[in-house]
Point group: C2
Chain length 164, copies 2
DNA sequence: TATGAATTATTCGTGTACGAAACATTTGCA
DNA sequence: TGCAAATGTTTCGTACACGAATAATTCATA
């Protein structure tokens, strides 16, 4: 449809390419992780803790670029798995300190290898993606520091509120 | 932790940058979409249909880079909103043809403007991202055509199966 | 022309994802 | 000191996201 004049297509949009590549990567890793229960977000959490040591939930939130409300149930599951511990900080009981267990440190090594090997297999390991990674990081920084200029003007279309 | 020798950090990984930029973009658009009920995946579906005309679920799946099992409930909701219709193809009743309504065509115009304006605000509109978009597209193509070389070897850690 | 295989879509179970609200604790200041 | 505001985390409701199982239809071929 949309006859002559050519609006910008999805495939030309940065957001769509990021969106679809992200899910392609997730599917790829999920295939590699198989039945182990490992997932990409869990790998991110493990990595962040491995790099930075024990962190509170909000520090981890910043590192992993994930909201606390996303982390909370994720961390609970991971603690059940035994890869990390969650302990209220004694000096400020609002905080919860998250820390890898020995099992967690072993896991992160294996998973990191699998992830890097996977990326190498498609020519996307860090030695080949320096420039693009830099640009993506810059884009994220700009977006996170910006509020949308304008609200979408669209008759609200939340579901017809099936008058129950 | 992880003392001297420096393993590759999350921030250097393409996958992490794609992962975190994707969510930053989602949050950004969600802020612009506000209470309208619009979401980024819905925008993708609207756009794909606007570009290609009526499509079956699996054709749309390919265009939008989304699994049929994700599309199915999404399309149901969108049909309730009134932006599209889902009709079994008479000549092959296995297929369901998805088509924009007039309301859907109006919506896609407004949403597309909002999306483009948002991208422009952070210097990410198509005029400035040609190269990076090309590389992301190429990366996706390589990943989608590849199976992971090796399975992750990790003692399965699905939840301890709380013996209920 | 029957009937098993292939194709297409939906349903189901689980796991992110996030804003808003709820909750607990600590801080700041009257 | 005492209590409102601020801070940090969890809970809740909703919306993706996908593989596996299911269901409905069509195809292929014996």
């Amino acid at each position: 449809m949309n006859d002559q004049y050519d609006p910008i297509s999805l495939e030309q949009l940065l957001c769509f390419n990021v969106y679809s590549l992200n899910r392609a990567l997730n599917r790829f890793y999920q295939a590699a992780f198989g039945e182990t229960g490992m997932t990409y977000p869990k790998f991110v959490v493990l990595s962040a803790l491995d790099e930075a040591g024990p962190l509170t939930v909000s520090e981890l939130s910043a590192r992993a670029s994930m909201e606390p409300s996303t982390l909370s149930p994720l961390l609970k599951r991971m603690a059940e798995y035994g890869v990390l511990t969650r302990i209220r900080a004694p000096e400020d009981e609002r905080r919860v300190v998250v820390q890898l267990t020995d099992m967690g440190r072993e896991a992160v090594t294996l998973v990191r290898e699998a992830v890097l090997e996977g990326l190498k297999g498609v020519d996307l390991d860090p030695s080949q993606t320096g420039q693009i990674v830099k640009e993506l990081g810059a884009a994220r920084a700009r977006i996170e520091g910006t509020k949308p200029a304008r609200q979408l003007e669209l008759g609200p279309m939340p579901p017809p509120l099936t008058n129950c």
